[in-house]
């Protein structure tokens, strides 16, 4: 009863935000530049949250998230431009294709731990990128022309869907199993949790939403190129999760919003931006290795007077 009330509260809030921004866009209070920034922000939030489930919740360190973004982007672009099918179908299929790629990558690599897993995911992401680079059907190195189809509605509801699914997953029995893997994999194994299964599931869900973000990302520009999906893109996504707090969904959302602003304003100074990013990363790791929010959520701050009560 209580839970559903909270849920409807957030649903109404989301709709209000959506309606207000949509109104501002239609009345052209928000111009193209800021509208684009808002869509980019939504894409970044989706990416941050989808990586959060892999790194933050399950504790599996993946630095190849841009690979799944690329799969979603290219598959959806093929569906809309080559097969001439509608955009919502392209989003769905792009996400499904990324989830399948996630399964293919995850099943062999998730047996690895820590550093090895990181390097293996990096390797897979590079392989995915090189495959697109060498496929003439999708334009090779020159890139692929894509129609401009993304708009605020798709981007916003993508974010809502991503956050909804991932926060529900985290609070479910499966999510708790994933958290136990993050805390201590051997102990989780000993408690009878099928650790491989949950790691692969979390990885596939993360890839699914990265693919969803990829579909919207591809149709937000007129062209997609393999170079866009290199290691630096994975690093961009990683920094949202790390800065926000490893294990905090709202933290990664806040970091994604904040860093989108920063990178939009520093767009003309890419080197400065990268220097700032890397310095932030080092300083956060040296002085606050759990990230800004730790594993806390922003909603925890509003729960006053509930000490010792049931959750």
């Amino acid at each position: 009863m209580k839970k559903s009330k909270v849920f409807w509260g957030y649903a109404v809030l989301a709709l209000v935000i959506y309606a207000v921004v949509q109104l501002l866009i239609t009345t052209e209070v928000i111009d193209m530049y800021y509208k684009n920034m808002l869509i980019t922000m939504c894409i970044n939030i989706m990416l941050a949250v989808s990586l959060h489930i892999v790194i933050g919740v399950t504790g599996q360190f993946s630095i190849g998230h841009a690979g799944f973004l690329a799969v979603g982007a290219y598959v959806s672009a093929i569906i809309t431009t080559k097969l001439m099918l509608p955009f919502p179908l392209a989003i769905l299929l792009g996400a499904v294709a990324a989830a399948i790629a996630g399964l293919i990558v995850g099943i062999p690599t998730l047996r690895l731990k820590g550093d090895y897993l990181a390097i293996a995911t990096l390797g897979f992401a590079e392989i995915i990128r090189i495959i697109f680079l060498n496929t003439d059907y999708v334009g090779g190195a020159a890139g692929m022309q894509v129609k401009y189809l993304s708009n605020w509605t798709y981007a916003f509801f993508g974010v809502v869907l991503t956050i909804l699914v991932i926060s529900n997953f985290t609070n479910s029995r499966h999510g708790r199993a994933c958290i136990s893997i993050r805390e201590d994999e051997i102990a989780a194994d000993a408690m009878g949790i099928n650790t491989t299964y949950y790691k692969v599931v979390a990885f596939a869900i993360g890839s699914f939403f990265a693919g969803l973000a990829g579909a919207i990302f591809a149709h937000n520009f007129y062209i997609i190129q393999p170079t866009t999906f290199g290691f630096l893109k994975s690093f961009d996504i990683l920094i949202y999760v790390v800065l926000g707090g490893l294990g905090s969904l709202s933290g990664s959302v806040i970091a994604a919003i904040f860093l989108t602003f920063v990178s939009t304003y520093l767009a003309n100074f890419p080197e400065t931006r990268m220097i700032i990013y890397s310095l932030v990363l080092i300083i956060v790791m040296l002085y606050r290795p759990t990230g800004l929010m730790g594993t806390k959520e922003i909603t925890d701050l509003f729960k006053f007077g509930k000490k010792g009560g049931t959750k």
Binding site: F61, D115, Y116, I119, A120, G123, E126, N134, E271, L279
Partner: protein, 291 residues
């Protein structure tokens, strides 16, 4: 004959990978950290060599030495400033810091000198020797001999000197080594210094061989050298040498077969295969995990 030609090219390339891989493997062996910034130390070494030869008109060997010394200092600085506090941190925190340091070095270099490539000056008249119909250039002989000399030197340091003994002890068990009176911090710094000096040397010979360098040149060789280290068995010094050579040869053969665009993918495929089927590498022993 073309195959042998490719083999020679592969060994030249492989010896560069091997030199970088040695630094990775030593650092990993001693503090279990993938030092992502190692590829960038390689880049810095290459640029120091470039300035030494082109601007200050030093010869090849003084430039090589200078690059090695400056890279050694640089490596120790990185370790002291960024990694030292992270000794007891989680592996993820250490890895993220290493990625951060790597990007910081790359983009600071770009910030100060721009991203445009530089052409390495010619230091040797490039003669080609004809041995049984195989063209072998003098530069590839030079690369190979420098690499082999450095590797022999490294083997000597690790196995015959006191600091080498300390390094082996710390990599075996840091706490026990500390109890035996070994200064663990200094030993780790020495490891970084030696590894970075090797990367600096690799940077200079890379510049001489490929004649084009740029601030992001360290990324791909860095990752490939890491693959070489994993291939040979990470933490094992002869493993890094063999892994590097093997990787160089495989890449050259893939190019020779006409798939030069797939060359990078080949390295990653090797990495993933080795991680899945033999994660301890060619020379590695299987270590049981204890709770």
């Amino acid at each position: 004959m073309e195959w042998i030609q490719q083999l020679v090219n592969g060994i030249s390339l492989g010896s560069i990978y091997a030199l970088i891989a040695l630094g990775y493997t030593m650092v990993y062996g001693i503090i279990k950290l993938i030092n992502f910034a190692h590829g960038d130390v390689f880049m810095i070494g290459s640029f120091i060599g470039f300035y030494a030869i082109a601007k200050w008109e030093l010869g090849f060997f003084p430039a090589l030495l200078l690059a090695m010394v400056i890279c050694a200092i640089f490596g120790v600085l990185i370790e002291r400033i960024a990694y030292k506090r992270l000794r007891n941190a989680t592996r993820i925190a250490a890895l993220i810091t290493a990625i951060g340091v790597s990007l910081l070095i790359e983009y600071t270099t770009i910030f100060f000198r721009g991203a445009q490539p530089a052409a390495y000056p010619e230091v040797f008249k490039n003669k080609s020797f004809d041995i049984f119909g195989v063209q072998i250039s003098s530069t590839s002989i030079l690369i190979l001999s420098v690499a082999v000399v450095l590797m022999i030197l490294l083997q000597f340091i690790v196995h015959k000197t006191k600091i080498g003994k300390a390094m082996r002890a710390v990599s075996h068990d840091a706490d026990a080594a500390r109890l035996m009176g070994i200064n663990v911090d200094n030993t780790i710094s020495a490891t970084f210094a030696i590894g970075s000096a090797l990367a600096g040397a690799a940077g200079v010979i890379f510049g001489v061989y490929y004649t084009k360098i740029d601030p992001l040149m360290g990324v791909i060789p860095g990752v490939k050298a890491f693959i070489a280290a994993v291939l040979g068995g990470i933490g094992i010094i002869p493993g890094a040498m063999v892994g590097g050579m093997l990787l160089g040869v495989v890449e050259s053969l893939v190019s020779a077969l006409g798939f030069s665009l797939w060359r990078d993918a080949a390295a990653f495929v090797i990495l993933i295969l080795i991680l899945i089927f033999r994660p301890s590498g060619i020379f590695g022993k299987n270590a049981r995990e204890k709770v």
